[in-house]
Every structure is written in C-alpha cells, then in structure tokens.
C-alpha cells in the first residue's frame, strides 16, 4: 500500500508541475503583462521599466521557476487589476464556490443514487425508464438555459427564492440545482450500472440464497460495493463543478472563484487566471488521488496493477 501511495503521490505532483508550466507559458506567450499593468497613460518607456521591474525581460523558464517557487509558499503574486494579493482574493472567494459545489453535488447525489438504485432493482420498469428519461434530459439541457428558466420561474414569477447574491442558504438553492443537475445523469447511470452488476454477482446470489432479507442485501452488501466507482466519479465531478460554476456564478451573481476567473479573463489579469487554473487542477489531482487511494484500500486488487 505504501509503495502504491508513494507512486500515486509522485505522479500527482508531476501532473501539477506540468499543468502549472503549461498555463504559465501559454499565458505569457499569449499576451503582454507589462501593458496590462502599465495602464492607460503609460508611455513606451514606462512599459520597458515595468518589464524590468517585474522581470518580464528574463527567459520564460526563469520566470516560471520564480513564480512556481513563490506559488509553493502560497504566494501567487499580485493581481494586475485589483493590486491585491491573489492568495487573499482566492481565500475571500473560495467559500462561496465551495458552498455552491458541495450543495450542487449533494443535490446531484440525493437525486441520482436513489434513482439509480431503484432503477437497478427493476430494470426496464417504469421507474427505470423515468430515471433514464430524466438522465437523458439532463444531459441535453444547456446549464445556462436551465438556470435562466429557474430564475424566471422561481425568482421573478413565483418569488419563492432570492435571485442573486450569497447572503443566505436560500440564495444557493437555484444555483445548486442548476449546477448539480448536470452531474446527475452520469452519477445515476453509474449507480445503476454498478448496482446491476453487483446484484448479479455470485456473492449477492449467495447472500440471497442464505435467506438474508432483501433490504439487508440491498443496502449492506450491494450498495456498498456499487458506490465505489460513484465516489471516484463524484470527486471528478466536483472538479468539473468548480470549473462549470463560471456561468452559474455569473448568472446568479455569486462572487466566487468562477466569477473571479471570468472577471480576471475580461481584464487580462494573468496572475489571477493562472492561480485559479492551478488551484482547480490541484483540487482535481487531490480528489482523484484520494479516490484512488480509497479504492485501493477497499479493493486490494488495484494495488497490484
């Protein structure tokens, strides 16, 4: 287990290094940060001076090393636009996005697992088909369209829910549904497929043959096994939710990381964009690593592979 863990950890680190190097070089090759910093009234000499002060005249690998070194200590530099520490800005914006992500996933899981299980118990029953129908619809509904519909109906028309901001929990209901609904189909399909596979496996047949009560079989034995891949997928989906929250945060005026990244892109605020890409990549890497290790701990065969 230890070797496996170390190996996975090493790969995870390597991924982060490559991702950060990629984002850094792409953004620096694509646009001139000195101009962004200099602002409206700068002359050519001012821009030269800024290049020198910020070290933009150094070779790109050198700049990267300097940036990465600082990033390791949590220093992502200063926003060109807001003139504030990027790490401070991220810390300020993350709780909102995290809340949104967790609410969205909770919604998705609450919807998809029961539906997936029910569908698996009676394949091709009405429940199964309804579940499948909802899944197919969910995959085809553009998230932003769905979000706007929710806003019109529950915000403006019925006035049941607040429309924008993050003041109370009620403010997260619509965004979480809009964002979570997109993850539902994949999670539900996986639950269903996993359940069907487990229910058809030998040991469940044995358990049933031994005369255990169906609910016991279902929840104690089957679901526990079927849920493993769902956990992995949830981890991945959480990363997607962070990335996908850009549109949702913009529509519902949640000032989280998604909004911040959009705002930063509009202003060519490179340090902010880079830091956000890296943080999201970190989330993905850490979550998949955790899911892998969890799976390995629960299923020894994985470790050997």
């Amino acid at each position: 287990m230890l070797t496996y863990t170390l190996k996975r950890l090493f790969v995870a680190l390597l991924i982060l290094i490559v991702v950060s190097a990629l984002t850094f070089s792409m953004s620096h090759l694509a646009s001139d940060p000195a101009m962004a910093i200099a602002g409206e009234t700068a002359s050519a000499e001012d821009i030269q001076e800024i290049r020198r002060i910020y070290g933009f005249d150094q070779p790109i690998w050198y700049q990267y090393m300097a940036w990465a070194g600082k990033a390791l200590t949590g220093d992502f530099g200063t926003s060109y636009h807001y003139r504030e520490q990027v790490s401070v800005m991220l810390a300020q914006r993350f709780p909102t996005t995290l809340t949104l992500g967790i609410c969205a996933l909770a919604f998705a899981l609450l919807l998809s697992i029961p539906m997936g299980v029910l569908a698996a118990i009676r394949p091709n029953s009405l429940i199964d088909r309804t579940a499948l129908f909802i899944a197919v619809l969910g995959q085809a509904l553009p998230t932003f369209w769905f979000a706007l519909m929710l806003m019109i109906l529950f915000g403006v028309q019925l006035r049941w829910l607040p429309i924008s901001g993050n003041a109370t929990w009620a403010h997260f209901v619509m965004p979480a549904i809009a964002l979570g609904y997109y993850s539902t189909p994949a999670l539900m399909r996986l639950t269903r497929a996993g359940m069907i596979e487990v229910l058809n496996s030998d040991y469940i047949r044995t358990a049933r043959a031994k005369g255990l009560r169906p609910p016991t079989v279902m929840f104690k034995h089957a679901l526990r096994n079927a849920i493993l891949p769902v956990v992995s997928l949830t981890a991945v989906q959480f990363g997607f939710a962070l990335g996908g929250s850009i549109v949702i945060e913009t529509i519902f005026n949640l000032k989280g990381v998604g909004w911040l990244s959009y705002d930063a892109i509009l202003r060519a605020d490179l340090p902010v964009v880079q830091a956000i890409v890296l943080v999201i990549a970190c989330f993905y890497v850490v979550l998949t690593l955790a899911a892998d290790l969890l799976n390995a701990a629960l299923d020894p065969r994985i470790r050997v592979r």
């Binding site: 962004a36 009234t41 607040p162 913009t250 529509i251 005026n253 705002d263 892109i265 060519a268």
Partner: protein, 508 residues
C-alpha cells in the same frame, strides 16, 4: 412534458409580470441600487479605480474644492468658498469653514494641501496620472487659504478640480493609505460609508451634518445600499422581483419593456459619451484600403447613422459630426465636415479609389453586436465585407495599442469633462490609440490644451475638428444614451454627464 412546462413557465412569466412589484424601498427609507455591468470597483478609494461607478461612489462620499453646476456648467464653490488666479500657474483658494469629515476630523487647509501633494506625487501611484500630473504642489497660506501651483498654464484645471480631485482627511489618510480608505472610506460628502464588501455590496448612511450650504444639497434618502451585479439580466430580474430599486445598466429595449410594467419607470437620457468609428489612416495595421481618404469618405457615406440612432439607440441620442461632444469647450459643430448617408456616392468613391468590387475589413468593438451588425449591414450594401470581432474592452484596447485594428467602433465618455481636450486631445496627440498620426493635429491640440486664451484655444481646436472630419480619421457616430429603470416611487432625474446624484433623489 418537461419542455412544455418550461415553455409554459416562461410564457407565464412574461404575462404575469403585470403584477405590481412589492418593494420595501420607500417604507424603510432604503434605496437599493444595482450597478457594475462593467465590473466591480477595484478599490473604492477614488484615486485607485478607473470605473465609472467609482465616480458615482465618490460623489456620495467626498467633495471637491469646486462644484460644476450640472445645468449651467458654471463653477461654484464647494469646499472652497472662492478662488483667484495669482498668475498663469497659481490659484489661490479660500476654504469653507465649519466642515467636518465623517470621522469627526475638521476640514481645513492641511487636508487640501496634503491631498493635492500626495496625489500629485507619482510615487504614490494614483491610477489615472493625467488627472493629477499637471499639479506641481500645494502650499498652506493660513488655516483656510491654499495656493495651488501648476506645472504649466492649464486651462482645463477646473474640470479636474470639480471632477476627479476629491479632498481627503489628512490625518486619516496618512495613517491608513489607499488600502484603508478602500475598506473604510472617510470624506465630507452627503453620505457616509457604513460598510464596504469589495465587489459585492456598499452600504451608505445619510450624513446629517451635511448642512453647511453645499451646492450639492443634503442627502434625502436615509439609507442607500449598492449591490455590484455584473449581469444586466440579473439586475432586471432583481428589479422585477423587488430586490433592487434602481439600475442604470440596461438597454434601450429594456427601457421600452420595463416602462410597460406597472410600478416601474424607465427612461433614456442623452450623455456626453460619444461613439465613433476609427479607421487606420496611418497604416499601422498594414491594412491598405483605409489609408486612402476616399475609402474612408466612402464608408462615412455608406453608414446610415440616422437609422442606427432612430432604431437601436433611440431616446434623445443624436447623430454627431464632431470628434467631441458639442457642449464641450472648443467643440465647434460648424468646423466639422459632415457626411450624409449616400450609398451611391459611397460606391462612386470606392470605384475612384480602385475598390469598385469592394474589399474585406476587420471591425473590432466591445459594444453590443447589434450596433455593429447594423454598420456591417450598411457596408455590405456597398460591397464592403466586414468581419466582426467583439472583444472585452481591455483586450481590445491592448490590441489597439499594438496597432492591429484597421477599423474599430468605440466610444469615449470624456471622464464627464466638459472640455474637448478630454476626448480629441486624448486620441490625436500621437498616443497609443492614435491611428492618424497627423503632425498638424498634434501641434494644434497641444496649443489648444495649454494656451490660457480661450480664443486661441477655440481657434486651434476648430482647425483640428476640421482636419479630423475632412480626412475622416474618425467617423463620429452618435451621442450615447444611458438607460435607467427604477421603482415608480423614486424621484429620479438623469444628468448628461452620466453621473446620477443619488444624494438628490428622494421618494415621491
């Protein structure tokens, strides 16, 4: 099934909007405003942001030395009671007595001297240097008298003194700096700041000590809450649902629509913001056709500005023929060469220039696609195929500075300054956005900007207007309108400088 429900829901929403909006605004004397469609104020310290909403914020919280009457454009005393020119480069201000800052600090010459010296020091990094770089320094004469020294004769000084140059409390600002001022602003203005939640919400309270006879007048509504909402549709949703009482970020069509909903009012008001299409006449982008003046004239004749104004911009927007807004000092409408909508003349000019079969050109803009599409439609009708790229403002500005835009549809609000130097000189003195690079213009505008004799200024500015329009470096388009929507109980008046005076508004 689902789809039908949704469609039905949408239609219901459209029909059901007739229900009167329930808003708490008037009942608890709190005005809730949404603004921020161009992004939140990066730092509410007046000297460290470049947002238009930053100006709106500053007018509530701080005062300037001088006040410009919004109707007559006449300058009146604000924190200064009176002033006189000691010579071409020195102004002496007599200050008002008995004014205090929100934190209790009394206002006197020390505050003025500190503020003017601090902001004009380039090391302090005030964001818009052109607001302050004409100031040499300020000197205290006595407790209520200050001398302001300028680097050179600066005829537009009062535009700045009545606009961006707000006076700060010296002791407080020396202690907390821009960072602290951004978190807890302190001024002398009609509203004090209760809290600042950066990029999210600002809460203001009426300053009941604002009774020393300011021409701005004391605040009326007790509480003002500003919410930064980037998305215009979200702002409207909030307005219709009763979450906010006022927005100024909407489109002409929104005005028409919201005005039909009971309980709300909406209006359009002309502003100083001047739209224009710029052409690469100097060949900076390497694009050839626009370097030919006949081609530029052809395009000026091909674009139907009247139709654009009438159908898309609406309100009291007007076609503009000058590279400046007509009320601005020096902006002589008679000096401009005017181009009437005349597609056949456009075609003839194109043929004369050797482009009888037209050409392809790239158009850049950050403004609504439909405005550009109208221009593209007009140009297509004379054989010019336009490829349009819509970009965010900052991306486009970078591209422009790099010299890569053969044609661009932009606009300029002149920082609400009623002086032509704030627009024409900004663009035609060989700066990074200058695609004319005309040496005559540089010289005339320089003279106009620095000469203290109004007649000399006017004469030089008129020459510049004549040249720019004759050569069609710009095709001036129209005056923008700002579109407002608000709850019917709000007593609202718009101003042409695009700055709502929230301290003037009360309930009906």
């Amino acid at each position: 099934m689902m789809i039908r429900t949704i469609t039905a829901g949408m239609l219901a929403a459209a029909i059901g909007l007739g229900a009167a909006a329930a808003h708490a605004g008037k009942d608890d004397d709190t005005l809730t405003i949404a603004w921020g469609s161009t992004g939140p104020i990066e730092n509410v310290d007046n000297y460290f942001n470049t947002n238009r909403t930053g100006i709106w914020f500053s007018r509530m919280v701080w005062d300037q030395l001088v006040y410009r009457d919004e109707k007559t454009f006449e300058f009146k005393g604000l924190l200064a009671e009176s002033w006189e020119y000691l010579n071409d480069t020195t102004l002496r201000f007599k200050l008002r007595q008995g004014v205090t800052f929100h934190n209790g600090e009394p206002f006197d010459a020390d505050d003025v001297v500190f503020t003017l010296n601090w902001i004009s020091d380039p090391d302090n990094g005030v964001k818009v240097q052109r607001n302050v770089n004409w100031i040499k320094n300020a000197e205290k004469v006595d407790q209520y008298t200050v001398d302001l020294h300028m680097k050179k004769p600066f005829p537009q000084a009062f535009e700045f003194l009545s606009g961006p140059l707000t006076i700060y409390p010296n002791e407080y600002y020396a202690k907390v700096g821009p960072d602290g001022m951004g978190k807890k602003p302190v001024g002398t203005g009609p509203y004090s700041v209760v809290s600042v939640k950066q990029a999210e919400e600002y809460v203001f309270k009426r300053n009941d000590d604002y009774n020393w006879g300011s021409p701005k007048g004391a605040g009326k509504i007790e509480n003002i809450v500003v919410r930064e909402i980037a998305d215009v549709q979200t702002q409207i949703a909030e307005l219709l649902a009763g979450g906010i009482d006022f927005t100024a970020d909407i489109s002409a069509d929104h005005v028409e629509q919201i005005a039909t909903v009971p309980g709300f009012e909406a209006l359009q008001a002309e502003t100083m913001r001047t739209g224009y299409i710029g052409f690469d006449a100097a060949g900076r982008s390497g694009f050839k056709p626009t370097t030919d003046v006949r081609v530029r004239r052809a395009m000026a004749h091909a674009i139907n500005r009247e139709s654009l104004v009438k159908n898309l911009i609406r309100g009291d927007s007007k076609v503009i023929h000058t590279p400046c807004f007509p009320t601005q000092f020096g902006c002589d409408v008679n000096a401009a060469v005017k181009y009437a909508f005349d597609p056949s003349k456009a075609k003839a000019l194109l043929a004369e220039a050797g482009y009888a079969d037209g050409f392809e050109i790239d158009l850049y803009s950050f403004r609504p696609a439909d405005w550009n599409e109208a221009v593209m439609g007009d140009l297509a009708k004379v054989g010019i195929k336009v490829n349009f790229t819509k970009m965010p403002y900052f991306a486009l500005r970078d591209l422009q500075w790099e010299g890569k835009t053969p044609m661009y549809f932009m606009d300029w609000g002149s920082y609400s300054m009623n002086d032509m130097s704030a627009i024409t000189s900004h663009f035609f003195k060989h700066g990074p956005d200058d695609y004319a690079l005309d040496p005559d213009l540089k010289q005339w505008l320089e003279t106009g900007d620095t000469n203290v004799d109004p007649a000399v200024r006017k004469e030089n500015y008129a020459k510049a207007i004549q040249k720019i329009t004759e050569k069609v470096y710009w095709l001036p388009m129209f005056s923008h309108v700002r579109n407002y929507a608000y709850v019917a109980s709000l007593d609202f008046t718009p101003y042409p400088d695009e700055i709502p005076r929230f301290f003037r508004y009360g309930w009906k």
